[in-house]
Amino acid sequence: MTASRRLLPWLLLTPALLIFAGLTLYPLGRTLALSLFATDYGFENAKFVGLENFRELWDSRFFRQAVTNTVLFTVVSTVLEVAAGLGLALLLDRAFPGRTLIMTLLLAPFVLSTMVVTAIWRAWFHFDLGFLNNLLRTVGLPGVPWLFDPNLALWSIVLVDVWQTAPFAFLIIFAGLRLIPQDVYEAARVDGAGPWRRFRDMTLPLLAPYLFVAALLRSVDSFKLFDKVYAMTGGGPGQATETVSMFVYRQGFRFFDIGLASAAAVVMIAVAGLLAIVYAASLLKGAGR
């Protein structure tokens, strides 16, 4: 192999590597560096404080609560969205009249902007005038304090997230379902496998990569939760819906405590990175590499 042939792949990769370095590595490195300083903006007038910002985070009850909320939200919303996506995909995998219309309606929440979705749900959640509580009252049940009960508010936001983004999981899983060859099921039927057995031993294993991709994309997105909380509860009541993204935003852009915000961002990156490694390892293992 000549030198020019050896260099060619690197040459072709250079633009992508430069963009990756400029848009990903540089901000990451800068954030990591800023997390070691007390600064109200950049490195100008910054004072090196070592791990002091991380200690402050550890001591902060609000940050600990934000981490707990974020992890809870990510796990529960991801599981529910993938489960709902799977259920919908199985339901709509067979032909029936009106299927196209139902699919279109199902996808509608996903194409709405989050601000529109939160405005709709904030109105629906209103204790006195909201659609949901009026519905409950018509059947003789009491109203539910959807957004102002600290034990319920986070789950109300999970509900909104599932409503809006389960269609996304559905799309991925439905595409996977359509790619499973029908003759596999026919052979199973011939061998006497019932519906549950076919689902458990054939559909689920064959759909696993798609379920995994849906879970990966949804959990990464959920982990960044900001807009729904910002628009619906502002992180309250109390700290019940505060997330790490909200914490970083507030420290960084409201208080310009850039060192502390960077430290919180580093924690966030570390957790998200861990999540990505677990997923990547599982995907590679599944692919036999």
């Binding site: 109203g143 957004l147 600290p150 309250g236 109390g238 409201r254 208080f255």
Partner: protein
């Protein structure tokens, strides 16, 4: 072909010569959205008509995004804003850091403004901003309901509690009072007049955290007693919900009624038109302490169009335009004489009372860290409101956090 090339070259050269010069006479105005937007929009429309050669760009932003744009722009010296609309609580930071232009260096500002509003526009004796909206936290009550149950205008917060308890127990579907309980700025602005009336404060005159006082504990205990008298879900109430509750007759007393909200109380959407009295906040151990919430107009220090910006600010704060803004958009003026203008009083019957309130108005602490202090206080107030912390613990922890923020 050669002729076309020359013509193109000439056009480009002319564009290069002419366009930058023309583009310099421009104004970028960064202002608030919601109820404030129509006021600036109207002024831009009128100013544009008088100055057709000025290219004006007006931005409408929420409170948070506006602060971020202005603060980041000032730090980065982006020269991206010529006229900045500022909450009076941001002004100390902007003025102390040298982010605003001394208005006396660009022609000054004529007009007799309300003293409390002009005071918050100054730093070290220099005028850095023009009072634009004379907002103040007032207090509103249903005079028909209070009279029906034998109450007069409440003079103290204890009177408020008594009236609210009676009305709530005797009027089906009417809560005794309503306030903004959502965390952050809203719950803090609801609480501060109560705190001040009890003789407490957040930060002392010499810049120390003083929230862990017996007066503050009494104030917070009383403030928390409001919750049982408010509509369910008041923990999430912001301005819209508060106004709805009053206008739809679902609450008898509004702990705070900003003058810029009051414009719709007698409107067609209100079920209680003419029945809501808007007055200065009650006192308690001290006299009334209505909270100033003025909005100001300033010129960022890096603006490339300071003379034009100053001209626009003088235009907006002229008596005729301040009156026009009040009449057409409900945003209260900042020129003292207008609060007794007969046209304005005919439309907004509480304006004389509002001027009285403005004359005794208390501004929030003039410290550059107020945004952070307010957020800390808002967090702990809400933890107390939802019962996750006792008042004393909330105040002690908030005070420690505030002291830490002030030391930075």
């Amino acid at each position: 072909m050669r002729t076309m090339g020359k013509a193109l070259g000439a056009v480009l050269m002319l564009a290069g010569l002419v366009l930058p010069a023309a583009a310099q006479d421009r104004l970028v105005i960064a202002g608030r959205d919601a109820g404030f937007a129509p006021a600036l929009a109207k002024m831009v429309e009128l100013y544009q008509a008088k100055n057709p050669n000025v290219k004006i760009e007006r931005l409408e932003l929420g409170g948070g995004p506006l602060y971020e744009r202005l603060a980041v722009g000032a730090r980065e010296k982006t020269a991206a804003t010529d006229v900045a609309m500022l909450d009076d609580i941001w002004a100390p930071e902007f003025m102390a850091r040298g982010w605003l232009t001394d208005l006396d260096t660009v022609g000054g500002l004529p007009g007799e403004f309300v003293k409390s509003a002009i005071d918050v526009s100054k730093h070290n004796g220099k005028l850095y901003a023009a009072p634009f909206v004379g907002n103040i936290a007032m207090f509103a009550y249903r005079k028909d309901l209070l009279a029906k149950h034998g109450f007069e205008r409440p003079k103290t917060w204890s009177d408020v509690v008594k009236a609210a308890q009676t009305i709530q127990s005797k009027e089906e579907g009417v809560s005794g009072l309503v306030f903004r309980g959502i965390k952050g700025n809203p719950i803090v602005t609801s609480f501060l007049p109560v705190l001040w009336a009890h003789g407490g404060d957040v930060v002392s005159a010499d810049g120390k955290a003083v929230l862990d006082s017996p007066a503050a504990e009494k104030a917070l205990t009383q403030f928390l007693s409001f919750k049982a008298l408010a509509p369910k879900g008041v923990e999430t109430y912001n301005a819209t919900e508060l106004r709805d509750a009053i206008q739809q007759g679902r609450a008898a007393i509004a702990v705070e009624m900003w003058s810029s909200w009051a414009g719709t109380l007698d409107g067609s959407a209100s079920k209680v038109a003419g029945q809501v009295e808007v007055v200065a906040s009650p006192g308690e151990v001290k006299g009334p302490a209505p909270m100033l919430g003025a909005w100001l107009l300033g010129i960022p220090a890096d603006s490339p169009n300071k003379a034009r910006a100053a001209d626009f600010i003088r235009f907006v704060t002229s008596p005729e335009n301040q009156k026009l803004i009040a009449l057409e958009t409900g945003n209260p003026p900042t020129l003292a004489a207008l609060f007794n203008d007969k046209d304005l009083v005919a439309k907004y019957r509480w304006y004389p009372a509002q001027l009285e309130a403005l004359n005794v108005a208390q501004a929030r602490p003039r410290i550059s860290q107020w945004a952070r202090v307010e957020t800390i206080l808002g967090d702990y107030l809400q933890l107390a409101l939802i019962g996750q912390m006792q008042p004393k613990q909330a105040l002690t922890e908030a005070n420690a956090q505030i002291a830490r923020a002030l030391s930075r």
